[in-house]
Subunit: 428 residues, 2 copies
């Protein structure tokens, strides 16, 4: 008994030391990451609203692409690899994540959105998180596992901060590294990072959009006297989620395909973003509306299709999800910068809206399920996305969130938007 007690004391002392050490490491880093993410979110909103007021700015998109191209060519170095570089460094320590990644990705993302490119935010936040964490890691002289843990905490802080979802941020940072496995090496640092990052954004009074799932209609069917959950609804959720998974698959495939094709077709690399910008302009003229430019969160005009409008009946067109897929894969596939996740939310929510019509299902519920499930399929992070459902929409539909994310995860195949993701356990 004495031996057990002394072993336990030793173990618990080590645990306490671990907690204190990582709190001291991660809190200052997450405060800085959260602050930069808050600045980024503010700049992004400002840039997008500037374009709303000055519509002609879209015509400069090809020039903006050129600018981004040369910024990366002259200053970018390894930072061009973006999220993948951070994931590779967490898998195995290499040359490190350069601090230049933070200003470069922040500026180029804001430029992309200012001139109307269709992209997201999470890639930018993750890169800010990873490169700030790497800088501090070098200052603290961290090596090996410690360096990988602080990088994970940085990713969690960036993700938690940019979407206002701390638990999701922590789980995402651990889950995104490998397909089919979560390891808890960085459990506590990731949670501290995500919580402090999110709080910091709040402290800067930068707020996030809120979404609501309306009450579900009480629609009795054959078995409802026997079985409490609505089996019919569950069946519809499974069918829709298989489609969500295929949409993830399409998205990831298209971004990669466009990159490959452009590299083969164009003699000079700088031509690619110019071409991309011209296509986006052409598409927008063709469609006659700017709904698929930028983030898709704020409404440019009353009645425009946004993430929020997709939660209401008639709030999106039948093919909105496909248009957003095309716009975003062209934007990101031709060298513009930003994340993929907000477009994935948009694709999912609008596809959910469309499917709710076909399947006679509640529209806000299906928009919410698409929102998280297309993301789950494209990033291969079903648990983080199930949790995102809870953090964004509340816990009432947790079971449907899990069904949607797990199903989409299985149906999206082994591709995904992060090429540095490793496969730990194949899906089938």
């Amino acid at each position: 008994m004495t031996t057990i007690t002394s072993i336990s004391l030793k173990e618990h002392f080590a645990i306490l030391k671990h907690l204190v050490r990582w709190t001291l490491f991660v809190v200052p880093i997450a405060l800085i990451i959260g602050s930069i993410v808050a600045l980024f979110l503010w700049l992004l909103t400002t840039a997008i609203h500037f374009r709303f007021e000055h519509k002609w700015i879209l015509f400069l998109l090809p020039l903006a692409g050129l600018l981004i191209h040369f910024i990366y060519q002259y200053f970018g170095k390894s930072s061009e690899k973006g999220n993948n570089l951070i994931m590779e460094e967490i898998h195995q320590e290499g040359a490190g994540v350069p601090i230049r990644m933070t200003p470069i990705i922040l500026i180029t993302t804001v430029v992309t959105h200012l001139f109307g490119g269709s992209a997201g935010r999470e890639g930018t936040a993750v890169q800010i998180g990873g490169s700030i964490a790497a800088l501090f890691g070098r200052w603290f002289k961290l090596k090996g596992m410690d360096m990988r843990m602080i990088l994970t905490a940085g990713v969690a802080a960036g993700f938690g901060a940019v979407f206002g979802t701390p638990v999701t941020g922590a789980i995402f940072a651990m889950e995104v590294l490998t397909i089919g496995r979560i390891q808890y090496d960085a459990l506590i640092p990731a949670l501290i990072g995500a919580v402090v990052g999110d709080m910091t954004v709040g402290a800067w009074h930068v707020s996030h959009m809120h979404y609501y799932i309306g009450a579900l209609p009480d629609s009795p069917y054959l078995l409802s006297n026997i079985i409490r959950p609505d089996l019919l609804l569950m069946g519809k959720v499974i069918i829709a989620s298989a489609v969500f998974g295929l949409a993830s698959f399409l998205f990831a495939g298209m971004v990669n395909e466009i990159k490959t094709i452009c590299l083969n077709v164009f003699k000079f690399k700088w031509m690619i973003p110019v071409f991309g910008g011209l296509v986006i302009i052409g598409l927008t003229i063709l469609m006659g509306k700017p709904d698929y430019l930028s983030l898709g969160v704020d409404a440019e005009y009353p009645g425009s299709i946004t993430l929020s409008s997709a939660f209401q009946a008639g709030g999106s067109d039948t093919w909105s999800w496909l248009w957003k897929t095309i716009y975003t894969s062209i934007t990101l596939g031709t060298g513009f910068k930003g994340g993929e996740v907000t477009p994935l939310f948009y694709i999912g929510a609008t596809l959910g809206n469309t499917l709710s019509g076909i399947l006679h299902a509640p529209v806000s519920l299906f928009a919410a399920l698409g929102f998280i499930a297309v993301f789950a399929g494209a990033t291969n992070t079903p648990l983080a996305c199930t949790f995102m459902g809870v953090e964004l929409f509340g816990g009432q539909h947790a079971l449907l969130f899990a069904i949607a994310c797990f199903t989409a995860y299985i149906f999206s195949g082994h591709s995904g938007i992060y090429s540095s993701q490793r496969i730990a356990v194949p899906k089938v």
Copy 2:
């Protein structure tokens, strides 16, 4: 593009086949597991209420222990290893899980509760799930990975059914196998199993206890103008959760310690349960009340300390958690049968009640946090328990659930109630 499409078609066909195949395998199994678990829950409630009406039955506890001992000696064979046998079979296929495990654990658990032993339910449900799944696995001639997947689905079905928490059941079955890692081998089978298992219990009109977290008081403090989340409350949650983790550690340690001591002290093994029964009787006479016998879910008399009463101020005594730890570790450590999880809920909720008084914190919130966190620490399943918080208490406090479960997980050390759990990633 043609190659990609054909690869994709092939991959997606394999995915569809996987889904259909596992649905066909798992649905009938989960229907049976759910039905047996419903029967088990009904028998358990009946047995406990029988003891409420016939208090003298407690004095037969030593005889009941003797009966259980001889049942396992003459009929038990490998099934005595219980949950650990199932976990070992999932890790690596061995001699298999015998079907006799189902009737034996069901009967011995009901006997334990009928005569007043302090134990839980999840172990029984998991063993019912595992052994039914194993039987079907042999009928379907499953081998290797397939057999391990169906066992996992069986565990998920048992767990999801017994607590009415399907998502938690699915995650628990994957998370419990190794400390520090979840692998998604059985993601879809586990979810199908847990959902169908839970639905089946509902279809038999067996319901679960509901718990509520009251509204938190709005208590402004120094930083509340700047930082949205209540930092003071969060600090209290972290302190309490470290204590919850230590309570898990104490519980796991005591069960093992009592087993070891008894094996050394008693010349004949049948003496151990007789001794255990006598100690429980002695303790109950000493305390003058029967509150720590059986599950602790239903109230034996108005004002008795139960899981529900712990959610109210004054609903538990200062040391209730310690008494329940002692009662349960003696019951399970001397050979009585049942699970550990409901006692862990009880220990956590009453400890949360006590700590809420010391820390001036909301009582129902801290009871809820203890409920899931002591369980997280003792089983090393922080993600499943965070999700259990959401499924039982709603999503509003998801962040605090995660903080509580992750912290308790870290503080409980590497021990735990399942000796066959492997360590994938050490905690510190």
